[in-house]
Subunit: 523 residues, 2 copies
């Protein structure tokens, strides 16, 4: 919400601003009493979009009409908590309200709804209005649905990405090489960032890793890191940590990077929209805004991964590469094994335990998580001009085996603010449930989506100690009655939800060794 | 919002219901205090969709979190005014709240977003959830945008229409012949219904006409009729009037006809969405639910009408006819002249004046409105089995010329509740502005959209006496400086908005007589 110079419109009386202690979550709401003279004169309707002005600041809000003077009086202009904070004036300050002008980019939106190709200027106008919260939920949804599937060509995806970068802050680390990594998601337990960051930062490259929280998955990197350390850091503190320790593992919400992306995601998620164009724009805009010069992108393939075939992965890779090249970002796409969850645990505490075991070279450390992290770290280390192609993996392994990665991680944890967490005795949910093999066989499939859903029903990520601990993985032989995985929960209702889900689908397929699906990926 | 038997979920404490005097306009909002035990235990997020239950009723609502015990206390469950009314229990009644289950039709919605064809059962599930307010604004918008353009084939349009009829009440007049008319809209001043209803009702056919209010136009039939009579009638009163007087001219909002349509329109309008499939489903579902057996549909064509060419009109006609036939509605499509506004006035009072002048056979009655109304009325009269094709127009003219139509209208006005309106001295907005011809010439174009916008800026339809009075029409010769039209407003700000619009575009083109565009329509 930007502050613009106030232009007083004559004839619109000033009201007294009143903070209404209602949290409307990202949606600004203004409250006017039904008998308020301004309300009557303006002929507003409830749910009209209005512009609230106070002391030179302007914000847009949705109008609610109030019939109770205890909430707002006739000469008051109530605003919800979030809106009040944005206005930055005290309670009782003079304020005015008027019908909001429709966003200037609406004609371009209508053209996209009607299937037209948009120009660079159109995308900048639309994304600018979105970042300034000028779009209603209806307009936002119309934009994402109209841009879904193959409705954006690759140059339009570039325009969209560029506009999203321009909509917020763009960091400059004053370093020739700033690395980052990203996974397109969908694989439970895939916490490689928490290993790649300490390894690569220990090598000496700048790696300011910001992550999101889980929205539809049982744990995001921010949720898992939060088991070990504070992740919500003021932006200045975050940059200081990166300068001192070459890396961080923080929540990205405070940095105002590609703010239009956050707004778009708020409607994409409920609709399970994840078209290639939207994915590319979302990921690359965040990374470029964060100041990355080199990015390694992990695209897992598997029967229950987001990407299910190599041709699909290659199409996605080409779109990422086209847009990255237009935006001068050096991009290395790595296609990985997405047939099953990575590591052993699924859920914040369980995943934090796995990460710490790998850093400590613990005998129970999950080897797949270790190997994948070393390879991704190796690729990033090879961005360094003095490392020969193929040498990165060995360098990464030495850093991990020597304990330097662990020391780096501990330094980052201390800097961010360490939490009380003993990964040798992790605080797992005490209510448990074991899912066992109905007959003997070899594990021929583990369904990423079903395991994720069971972990979420058990309470993850909100309940940190909840989740699924996988005791068997693809290719393992099991006897009848042997435990496949253990579900942890903290509340009886959660355990019951998870139990019911396990009865419908337990996520495991058993069969013969030759039925284990193969994927041909680089590692 | 349907009432279902309540199933108490154990462990969810009862709260005390509290009416929160906030009007959130069609969107149910529930308010919980941040320190409320249920809020904390359930892990709701602000803006979560929740289910509120009290005394066997269930409604869905959006959650707002409150930090002020004066609005809701810790053991209270606040609900917005609309939601409170739906629950039908007194303040303080025990109530409970839980996370709402997602609507069952969401998988079908996702398939439509991904471009799949949906089945009859899918459409019934989606439309049922929409009618019961189970869709969020995001889901609603996704549905209408994904169904826009040619994304629905004609059988899907039939499924959608049928499901929309089934979503609400369907009237049965116990008459073999129930007639109705509809215009697809976009032509200012086109108030033929207010003439066709009294003519056809005087002839003796049952004509229960319900109309909407203007949303994007300067006056709807309901707005104009409201100048003369009450239009918001209880449903029982409306049926009684139709039984006594064979017709009515009422607002359709109270009858619960095709309620899903009203919900869909709430997102289609802000997006200016008006695809053929949505138009057909919206219009036909309302008419069939209203009990019509025979419908005359007016499709105006013109350079600034909704439909701009004959091939487009014919495509639309075929879609209407296909769906009408599948639903056993007898449909007569009439393609009319939409090159310019119909009649002289644009705005509720101005249009009511024109209608009354035609009914009174006043010398200043606009002839185009009279002729068009007679032809539409004639088509409807020909639905009667004892009238020969071609005879309807003459019958209608006799009814109008003899004063029987005026008497019928006066009876309907009295029955609905007459308003104090003298059409010989209509209460027009006293602030006026005249737009004159810059040079001599012949009127070669009147832009429907521009005239409508000027009338709206002047205050119509909210300000009943505001609007545009057209003194010249297509083909009229004018001298330089002669008045083309007069704008009426009641507030200086409105007049100023209209003046500024007239400076940008005044809606009139002047030229040579041979430049007047021709359209080839039946009348």
């Amino acid at each position: 919400m930007s502050a613009q110079p106030e232009q007083e419109t004559p004839g619109r009386d000033s009201l007294m601003l009143r903070r209404v202690a209602i949290d409307t979550y990202r949606e600004n709401v203004a409250y006017l009493h039904r008998d308020c003279a301004v309300y009557r004169a303006e002929g507003f309707q409830a749910l009209s979009k209005v512009e609230v002005r106070a002391n030179g600041k302007r914000i847009l809000a949705t109008l609610n009409v109030v019939d109770d003077a205890a909430i707002v009086g006739c000469n008051q202009l109530g605003v919800s908590e979030d809106a009040f904070v944005q206005l930055e004036v005290p309670d009782g300050h003079p304020a005015s309200v008027s019908q909001a002008e429709p966003p200037e980019s609406i004609p371009a939106l209508f053209r996209k709804i009607n299937g037209e190709r948009l120009t660079r200027a159109d995308f900048h106008a639309i994304v600018g209005d979105i970042a300034q919260h000028r779009y209603s939920k209806i307009e936002l949804t119309a934009f994402v649905v109209a841009s879904n599937r193959s409705e954006l060509d690759r140059e339009e995806v570039f325009f969209l990405t560029e506009a999203m970068v321009a909509s917020g802050r763009r960091l400059d680390w004053h370093e020739p090489l700033v690395v980052d990594k990203h996974c397109i998601g969908g694989i439970p337990g895939n916490r490689t960032s928490m290993l790649v960051v300490p390894i690569v930062a220990a090598y000496g490259l700048v790696f300011p890793k910001t992550s999101s929280r889980a929205i539809t998955s049982p744990a995001g990197t921010a949720d898992t890191m939060e088991v070990l350390a504070t992740v919500e850091l003021p932006f200045d503190r975050l940059t200081e940590i990166v300068r001192t320790h070459r890396g961080c593992l923080a929540w990205g919400g405070t940095a105002n990077l590609s703010p239009a992306d956050d707004v778009l995601i708020s409607v994409e998620r409920p609709l399970a929209l994840d078209s290639p164009g939207q994915m590319v724009a979302s990921i690359l805009s965040k990374k470029i805004a964060a100041g990355a010069t080199h990015l390694v992108l992990d695209i897992p393939i598997g029967p229950t991964a987001k990407v299910r075939s190599m041709p699909e992965a290659q199409r996605l890779r080409r779109l990422f590469e086209y847009v990255a090249q237009r935006l001068h970002l050096s991009l290395d796409v790595v296609i990985t094994d997405g047939r099953q969850p990575v590591g052993q645990g699924v859920g914040p505490v369980l995943e934090a335990r796995d990460v710490m075991r790998v850093l400590e070279n613990h005998p129970d450390a999950p080897n797949d998580l270790r190997q994948k992290s070393l390879r991704l770290a190796g690729r990033l280390i090879e961005c360094s001009p003095d490392v020969r192609g193929g040498d990165g993996f060995g360098i990464a392994r030495d850093i991990l085996d020597s304990g330097r990665a662990l020391a780096q991680m501990q330094a980052i944890i201390e800097a961010q603010g360490s939490r009380d967490f003993d990964h040798h005795h992790p605080a797992l949910g005490v209510l448990t449930l074991e899912v066992t093999a109905a007959q003997a066989g070899v594990v021929t499939g583990i369904d990423n989506l079903q395991i994720a859903q069971i972990a979420r029903l058990a309470g993850a990520p909100k309940v940190q100690g909840a989740g699924v601990d996988l005791l068997r993985k693809l290719g393992d032989a099991v006897r009848a009655g042997e435990t496949l995985y253990r579900v942890h929960a903290s509340y009886p209702a959660d355990l019951e939800f998870a139990r019911q889900a396990c009865l419908r689908f337990n996520g495991f397929s058993l069969g013969h060794a030759d039925q284990v699906p193969h994927v041909f990926v680089e590692f």
